[in-house]
Amino acid sequence: MQNLIEQYQTVSKNRIKTWFKVGKTEDFPVNSGACIKYKTKQIAVFNFTINNKWYACQNLCPHKMEMVLSLGLIGDKEGIPKVACPLHKKNFSLEDGSNMGGDDLKIAIYPVKIENENVYIGFED
């Protein structure tokens, strides 16, 4: 179980080795999430049309270790974009991965770029 979560580490912009193409923008639902696969990782990708931004994070809920975050409702808390886990409604910031409910559980977040209607996620490997 532990290895499962350890493979998810936040990727900062300056350490990206691979921009992995995950699909066309039109493949992704608007104002909600979808899940993509990269090697053994499952990544949740969110398309916020209201501020025209894309976010990506681990699909794994760090609380109960289930692959569900892409299914959660998205929105904001005091202006910070977030996803609410569908299982127990824990809120995670999509800007830094922190748990907005206050406890220690954090999620890893990944850079997203859009080029020519294609969606790319940045990875260190």
């Binding site: 992704f28 608007v30 899940c35 289930e66 409702l73 929105g75 904001d76 808390k77 299982l87």
Partner: protein, 838 residues
């Protein structure tokens, strides 16, 4: 700079640091704190929560960073071994020496383990620290793996902590047995009658209670197998948690000859000074007025006194009367005791109310002149505790006929207890943090707080034991009201309206989608609260299915299935009234088998198929729809089922055809979205086999028609539906149901079920009768028309989903791969499967 050493980093030791930081300027003192446990101070009062979430961090009083940023040296994992009062130094077990100007002993207490033969055996634990709990849990897991069937575990001690421990043992999946030496439970707080009521209640919850038992011996070779009380009196248990009281940790006192009590505890004066004036003792190690106070509130007060004494506020001293009132929820049972719970006849008289059918016990003790409340006990329902406690603490006047306090005033409107605003400003509302009513009201009046959250962060009220929360809520609301500020329950930070207002705004302005609603009436990006609420409003106004505005649906509605523990889904086809042909039953069986789904009959007379993966859902539903089924909406806040008994078609007692009517009603309201899920029931006679009174609406056949009941439910807070109208024919019954349901859908808050909706509705049942039966608002026809329109527009959303390739695309785990989620693991259980436990 003077140096203060605090020995002990428990709740009281921490509180000393907190008060100290609040009262002193920087760099006047240096604070060094020693803690024996590996982690910083945590909330021991709520220790049993650790069993539920196993999250030690959540119990923390303050983080390590807090100590650092306040320039406090916290040294954990280090026990102080001795004090040398002449050189004013202490020495740790690692033989490090530190000097002090003031020494504060907050070493607390340890669990008392009675000297019973065999108590050292494996499987015997105490209930005190997080480490104790971790050991107990680890052992429990081991036991459960080794042994199948019922495993018994005992708790030695039937006091406060013992009962908490019993709950924890029960939650671990064991059969709990509480063993108490005294002839009653909670001997310190409850009288015999109250304790008996508590005993009966907790026994009904599956906790076994053994009173007047002196344990002679722990049985077993090296591992506990049982407990022996007398020659032929024993029980078999595989684990024992000892919670037989506390002993002050006063061993340090002996290293420097501080005076201690004969039964332990370091003697202190009302300045919290020990026999050495530079050494203070606070909390459960301090013996004050010949007593050890095992509650957190007196400990906090001691911490406050010690801080003030050290910094020179010498007039702050400990009072003579220490309030030992307590209120808590034990195993789901309210128990409270305040002031003088037992009343000697020479001081006053008692009024006792006992209701065995409801497991209720209330006792108040009143002075001889009938003017003062001296104390009392509440078991089963402690909702009046805060008010009683305030009346007792502040000596407030009580009704001439004191019995009105517990049985209510007959024939008069309103409560005899009075309003929270009547208590004096100096009254202490939060005793853990010493917050008065004045502090709370001022936070609003003078310091600009606008809601409960702001008041709590300003004053810290409710942040200790939390027992004062209901009263603080009332005070905040009343104060806001008195200033003419509205106390409005708004939906969330994105909409400054409640659900009913948004319902009207969306309807009147003919808003068609969420984004328009957000732009017009809200702000930000929305959230998991406002999106599903507004989705439900759109569904109730336009009967649009969850397929129309997918992005705002709750996860269950988005995938038209109930998400389960491991991220798989369950499938529930509608079986109206619970009636099903053998052929259809066989088809469900075949489909369940084909997709390897765990199958179970639900409480609502239908069949639930578990363990389907996202990509399987459309295929499964295709087969179900081909077999003549449709969505059961088990995933939605909507009508679930209308349960029926077999009725007059078969039953020799049946008065009317309950199945036929149940099917008609279920088909009428299928797919109807509402603020909360709702259920119905139709019984063919007063034997009520369909349990219609446990539903949001229920019909029971009587001579001459149907009796209609509304606003009942099962679940966590069961409620019987109340009689709404009698002897209705089918047509009138449906007319009233249409009006009632539509009125509820229009006016209820988000996630408010019919029963609490009725409770909060001004005018209550009588008002609903006026609106629905007498049409006092003149909207009855409108309500009926709206309902009829929704009925006409019904569509099966699963049929929509499998017929539209665009919708079908939603049911795929990965966007960029046809792989499925490889994280799922199932284990076998009774010839079927279940998700691997977390």
């Amino acid at each position: 700079m003077k140096k203060i050493i605090v020995v002990g980093n428990g709740m009281v030791g921490y509180k000393f640091c907190e008060k100290f930081i609040n009262l002193t300027k920087e760099n006047t003192f240096k604070l060094i704190v020693f803690g024996e446990e590996p982690r910083p101070a945590y909330d021991r009062v709520h220790l049993s929560e650790f069993f539920e979430n196993r999250n030690a961090k959540a119990l923390e009083m303050a983080s390590l960073e807090w100590y650092k940023s306040n320039n406090i040296d916290l040294i954990t994992n280090t026990r102080v071994a001795s004090i040398h009062s002449i050189s004013k130094t202490i020495e740790t077990i690692n033989e490090e020496v530190y000097s002090y100007d003031y020494l504060v002993l907050a070493t607390g207490s340890s669990a008392f383990v009675p000297p019973i033969k065999g108590v050292e055996k494996e499987g015997v634990f105490v209930y005190r620290t997080i480490e104790d709990l971790e050991d107990t849990l680890a052992y429990a897991d081991k036991l459960k793996k080794k042994k199948s069937g019922v495993i018994k575990a005992a708790v030695l001690g039937g006091g406060l902590l013992g009962l908490e421990a019993a709950k924890a043992v029960k939650d671990m999946g064991f059969e709990p047995h509480v063993v108490e030496f005294a002839p009653k439970l909670m001997p310190r707080q409850l009288d015999s009658r109250g304790s008996k009521v508590l005993k009966e209640k907790i026994e009904s919850l599956g906790i076994h209670v053994h009173l007047s038992k002196a344990t002679n011996k722990i049985l077993g070779e090296d591992i506990i197998t049982g407990m022996e009380f007398g020659e032929y009196d024993k029980i078999d248990v595989n684990m024992l948690v000892v919670s037989a009281g506390i002993r002050p940790r006063d061993e340090l006192a002996k290293t420097c000859n501080l005076e201690t009590g004969t039964r332990g505890g370091i003697i202190v004066n009302n300045k919290m000074q020990t026999s050495d004036p530079t050494i203070y003792a606070i909390g459960e190690v301090a013996l004050y007025n010949d007593m050890i106070y095992g509650l957190v509130a007196p400990g906090y007060e001691m911490a406050d006194v010690a801080v003030n004494q050290i910094i020179g506020n010498s007039d702050v001293i400990m009072g003579n009367n220490i309030d030992m009132s307590t209120k808590l929820k034990l195993i789901g049972v309210d128990v409270a005791s305040y002031g003088e719970p037992f009343m000697p006849v020479e001081r006053g008289y008692s009024i006792i109310y006992e209701n065995k059918t409801k497991n209720l016990y209330k006792r108040i003790n009143v002075s001889h002149d009938g003017k003062k409340l001296l104390g009392g006990i509440l078991v089963g329902d402690a909702s009046d505790y805060n008010m009683f406690h305030q009346i007792y603490l502040n000596g407030l006047p009580i009704p001439e006929d004191a019995e009105e306090l517990i049985i209510g005033s007959r024939g008069k409107e309103g409560s005899s207890i009075g309003s929270v605003m009547d208590i004096p400003d100096a009254a202490q509302v939060c005793s853990c943090e010493s917050i008065t009513k004045g502090d709370i009201c001022n936070a609003i009046r003078e310091e600009g707080c606008n809601n409960l959250g702001e008041v709590i962060s300003k004053t810290k009220a409710t942040s200790g034991c939390g027992g004062c929360k209901p009263m603080v809520v009332d005070l905040v609301n009343e104060t806001l009201k008195s200033m003419g500020k509205s106390v409005k329950a708004t939906l969330c930070e994105h909409f400054n309206y409640n659900r009913q207002e948004l319902y009207d705004l969306i309807k009147v302005n003919k808003i068609e989608n969420y984004n328009d609603a957000l732009t017009k009436f809200g702000k930000g990006f929305g959230c998991e609260v406002c999106k599903p609420t507004i989705a439900s409003i759109f569904a109730s106004i336009n009967m649009e299915t969850a397929n129309k505005q997918v992005a705002i649906q709750d996860t269950n509605d988005r995938f038209l299935a109930n998400i389960q523990r491991n991220g798989t889904y369950s499938v529930v086809p509608r079986i109206p009234g619970g009636e099903i042909t053998p052929d259809k039953l066989i088809r469900i069986g075949q489909i369940g088998k084909k997709y390897d789904l765990y199958t179970k009959i639900t409480g609502g007379q239908r069949i639930d198929l578990f363990g389907a993966q996202l990509h399987q859902l459309p295929d499964i539903w295709k087969e179900l729809i081909d077999a003549g089924f449709e969505s059961g909406h088990a995933y939605g806040k909507s009508l679930r089922t209308v349960k029926s008994c077999v009725g007059s078609t078969w039953c020799r007692y049946g008065m009317h055809e309950s199945v036929t009517f149940a099917i008609e009603i279920e088909n009428r309201y299928r797919g109807l979205r509402s603020p909360h899920k709702f259920k119905g029931g139709v019984s063919g006679c007063i034997r009520e086999c369909a349990e219609a009174r446990g539903k949001d609406f229920g019909l029971i056949a009587v001579e001459g028609g149907w009796n209609l009941y509304i606003c009942g439910n099962g679940g966590a807070t069961p409620r019987h539906a109340v009689l709404f109208a009698e002897q209705l024919d089918n047509k009138t019954a449906i007319k009233y149901l249409d009006r009632f349901l539509m009125f509820y859908i229009r006016t209820a808050g988000p996630l408010v079920r019919t029963a609490p909706w009725l409770d909060k509705l001004d005018g209550g049942l009588a008002y609903v009768k006026e609106v629905v039966i007498e049409d006092s608002l003149g909207i009855a026809e409108q309500l009926e028309n709206e309902m009829q329109e929704l009925v006409n527009k019904y569509q099966c959303e699963w049929k929509q989903a499998i017929e539209d390739p665009k919708i079908k695309k939603r049911f795929k785990h990965f966007i960029n791969s046809d792989d499925t989620d490889d994280n799922l693991v199932f284990v076998p259980m009774r010839d079927q499967k279940m998700p691997k436990p977390w």
